[in-house]
């Protein structure tokens, strides 16, 4: 019986080492590649006809596109249009990775259940947005940390709070996604374990295994929602950070 956290273990499939650095192809890398293939097939397949009146598949692709385009426009304004491909890629990538983990039987590795992956994404966004802010506003971007209408006595404290909250952005962004994924998958595994143990115990216990099984069904629905929601939250926060960098407060 596999422990609830075993599903998150990284196994090296093809060990590769370059200049002393380990860049082995792992189950995580395989999952990443599958996500890439799924997304390419989804988009190329949907847009293969690029019809004026879209079919179902094309409509799905267009819906994703328009959803993100609208979200980016609403939160970060027209100037942020140049970052659309990045936000779109980010959203589709996280959504696909999250949903891949919800497919039963295939045991696809959920790449977003690793803090290394989510933090890398969040840190890249953090650095990128900060650089963008300084490019856009020069040294004036530092005013971002100074609240406009605060009493002078409180100002030093408020500036420290602003800086800490700014610096904690990549942490909160990455941990939110990572923790949601880990919690969901762990819970499913734990209750799956209950079903197996109760069924194996036989007799009256076997009947009891129906309860955790029903719970898993409900939880799967919830986890599908969480998978979509967390991808959305990650993308929305990215848009908000972009907006902060482009327009300050």
């Amino acid at each position: 019986m596999a422990g609830p956290l075993e599903q998150f273990e990284i196994h090296s499939k093809v060990p590769i080492e370059v200049a002393g650095y380990d860049i082995s192809i792992t189950n995580s890398a395989v999952s990443l590649a599958i996500a890439l293939v799924i997304l390419m097939v989804f988009m190329l397949g949907g847009m293969r006809k690029a019809a004026l009146v879209p079919g179902r598949w094309q409509s799905s692709v267009e819906m994703c596109y328009e959803f993100i385009a609208k979200m980016l426009g609403d939160t970060a304004g027209h100037e942020a249009r140049q970052f659309f491909p990045f936000v779109f890629t980010l959203f589709m990538f996280i959504l696909t990775a999250n949903l891949m983990g919800m497919v039963p039987w295939l045991h696809l590795f959920t790449v977003t259940s690793h803090i290394a992956v989510t933090f890398a994404l969040a840190f890249f966004i953090f650095i990128g947005v900060t650089i963008l802010g300084f490019i856009k506003h020069g040294i004036g971007f530092l005013k971002f940390f100074v609240p406009g209408d605060a009493p002078l006595a409180l100002l030093p404290l408020l500036v420290i709070i602003e800086i800490v909250s700014y610096l904690s952005r990549p942490i909160s962004l990455s941990v939110r996604l990572f923790a949601n994924m880990v919690a969901g998958h762990t819970m499913l595994q734990v209750f799956g374990g209950f079903v197996v143990s109760l069924a194996a115990a036989g007799g009256i216990f076997a009947l009891g295994s129906v309860l955790p099984f029903a719970f898993i069904v409900a939880l799967t629905g919830l986890e599908l929602l969480v998978a979509c929601l967390q991808a959305y939250v990650f993308a929305v926060l990215t848009c908000i950070y972009l907006n902060d960098a482009l327009h300050m407060h």
């Binding site: 890398a29 190329l44 004026l52 890629t89 990538f93 259940s113 690793h114 890398a120």
Partner: protein, 167 residues
């Protein structure tokens, strides 16, 4: 927790960068422009169709106004034709009636004249007969041979008086 093992960080981050970069390039170069192009085309098409529909509607409205104008003109025209025809017919009828009544009057006058002629002729005949009868009666009764002229005078006076009495 396997996620916290630093040994697994590097291979994951490396492949994440590779895959994410590949995906970004694919989407930015290929997918997103293609989708944007289709959406733009559709929007343009819809806008074009709406403009065309508006133009056609304006044309239809124009045609409707022209039709209504033509209809009103025709109605006015018809009314004036009816009016003028009515006057014409009325005048014709009056002329015909006038002519007819003139003819009838002429005929009546003619007839009256003939009646008068016949009447005076009959009257003179009656006088002749009365004169003859009178002279005959006088000659039979008295044996006198009266002057025809004096008898005629008496008869004429008597008949004139009778005719006056009649009238």
């Amino acid at each position: 927790m396997p996620q916290l093992d630093p040994a697994v960080f590097l291979p994951q981050i490396f492949w994440l960068i590779v895959v994410f970069a590949a995906l970004y390039i694919f989407i930015a170069r290929n997918a997103a422009p293609k989708i944007a192009d289709v959406l733009k085309k559709r929007q343009d098409r819809i806008a074009d169709d709406l403009t065309a529909a508006e133009q056609l509607q304006a044309k239809a409205e124009e045609a409707r106004i022209a039709f209504e104008k033509a209809q009103a003109d025709a109605r006015n025209n018809a009314a004036s034709i009816v009016l003028s025809k009515r006057d014409e017919i009325k005048a014709d009828t009056e002329a015909a009636l006038q002519k007819l009544s003139e003819e009838l009057n002429a005929k009546i006058d003619d007839a009256q004249k003939r009646i008068d002629e016949a009447k005076s002729k009959a009257l003179s005949d009656v006088r002749d007969v009365a004169t003859d009868v009178c002279s005959e009666i006088v000659s039979q009764i008295s044996g006198l041979k009266l002057d025809k002229k004096s008898i005629e005078k008496v008869v004429k006076a008597k008949t004139d008086a009778a005719m006056k009495g009649d009238a």
